[in-house]
Symmetry: C2
Subunit: 252 residues, 2 copies
DNA sequence: CGGTATATTGAATCGCGTCAATCGCGGTGG
DNA sequence: CCACCGCGATTGACGCGATTCAATATACCG
């Protein structure tokens, strides 16, 4: 698959979960030191992905979950006609692949947005360790549940917000995750294209482009292609809320 | 909480998972007979809910999952301003409450759409049994994963389809679930209001109403308030697909 | 340096939301 | 049993926001 040189690099890069910088964001969170070693043993060597490389495709047999270690990925579904809907963008520390648990086959696809690395967690091994380490099981369930909650946010964004609110919400969620990663949450780097952003929000690319321009005029952002500086986080937060009653309050 | 007479009824109605009609759709699916008894022991008495009654609210402490036994519920999130987004409608055999696993508190709400009954699965007990019955664990993971996949469908519907396609897709998904329940999938009974349907799809109630009328004119449906007859399932299926390239094919 | 994909901007169109009026069903009380 | 009331549902007229179509600008990559 990859040149031998790169494979060697990977082996060098191999680290234990215990010493990983993402430790607290990742599966090990809340797991004791002793059990950590057992989890550690299940992690296969990291995989490097070039920009545009697929981590898994729809229909692929499910055999592992993946933790984003560096870089970023997008996950999406695609129908027969080729239409794509992006489900999420994934930053370091985030775990992907849960869609396949139901049917043993992936029903979505994962693609690297830039050169990225992931830790592979073979599910059979993971399950075995989890059966002996209850804390790991709880943690696994928590992580899936977080994904469910995150999708709720996506649904609210698409269903109740208008375009500008959506983009503001998207940027804020990105900023929040930057903060968790100890990055400067006002200096966002957008690894995905405008098309990706538009697709994720259920809009067309022109609308997204116009909104970036408008927010720049308003003095909220400073946009420069993939680099976005948040000049006024307070204003950005304000743009997320629909002040007027949006569409419907309570469906009694 | 409830009158004593009703509580007595509940005790009478108490059935084991093994003899439940929903057996194959519910948590027990794929669990051996021996283990079934252990699962069975964790199920608390059923709860009856009148139309409009809340099963849980946002912020409630998480202590159980629930299986819809009869009737139907809606789950939704609500922001500070009171805006509601309906996440899903739940028919018999479906399990709800997974949103709370992440934080030990519910982040969504569940309300009965009609007089309904649910089986309560206290999570502490469930976890204990699951730790001794690996098959149950796998099944639990599968069920959550199904929820993730179902939300993907909801996202695609909202993000890529226009109003008429959305309503058609909604009706078809309902018909599919009717079929699983061995009900006549061409005679749909909509327990939720037009407001609920509109909210679920990210539309306003007038649009939904107009679409029902239009589909009736087209000869696809026969609509009578809450009762909808599907006259032409083939046409309905056709309405789900956006023939034209909808917004964006591949976000490469 | 040229070719191509990505991004921005403008003008015209249209689908859906908003506002408003009416209908029809279900529950209630006289 | 019927008149009344109230809420959910339907229908029409109108306006706005987002898409569509089209042109141009800018970055990226060989």
């Amino acid at each position: 698959m990859e040149p031998a040189a790169i494979v060697l690099d990977l082996n060098q890069l191999r680290r234990s979960c215990g010493s990983c910088a993402l430790h607290e964001l990742c599966l090990p969170a809340g797991i004791g030191v002793a059990d950590l070693q057992r989890l550690d043993a299940t992690v296969k060597d990291k995989r490097m992905l070039d920009r545009g490389a697929m981590l898994y495709r729809e229909g692929d047999k499910f055999d592992a979950l993946y933790v984003v270690r560096s870089g970023s990925l997008k996950t999406f579904v695609q129908n027969e006609a080729g239409d794509v809907q992006i489900l999420a963008f994934h930053l370091p520390g985030e775990i992907i692949g849960f869609d396949a648990l139901a049917s043993d086959r992936h029903v979505s696809q994962a693609e690297a947005l830039e050169r990225s690395s992931v830790c592979e967690l073979p599910y059979a091994k993971l399950q075995q360790v989890a059966s002996e380490v209850p804390a790991l099981h709880r943690q696994l369930m928590r992580v899936i549940s977080r994904e469910v909650v995150e999708e709720h946010r996506h649904l609210v964004m698409m269903g109740r917000q208008q375009a500008q609110e959506q983009l503001a919400t998207f940027l804020r969620s990105l900023a929040d995750r930057y903060q968790r990663l100890q990055r400067d949450s006002t200096a966002l780097n957008l690894p995905m294209s405008r098309y990706d952003i538009a697709n994720y929000l259920g809009l067309v690319v022109e609308t997204v482009s116009r909104l970036f321009s408008r927010m720049e005029e308003m003095g909220v952002l400073e946009v420069n292609r993939k680099s976005v500086r948040v000049l006024r986080p307070d204003l950005l937060a304000g743009l997320c809320r629909a002040d007027a009653a949006s569409k419907r309050k309570d469906a009694g």
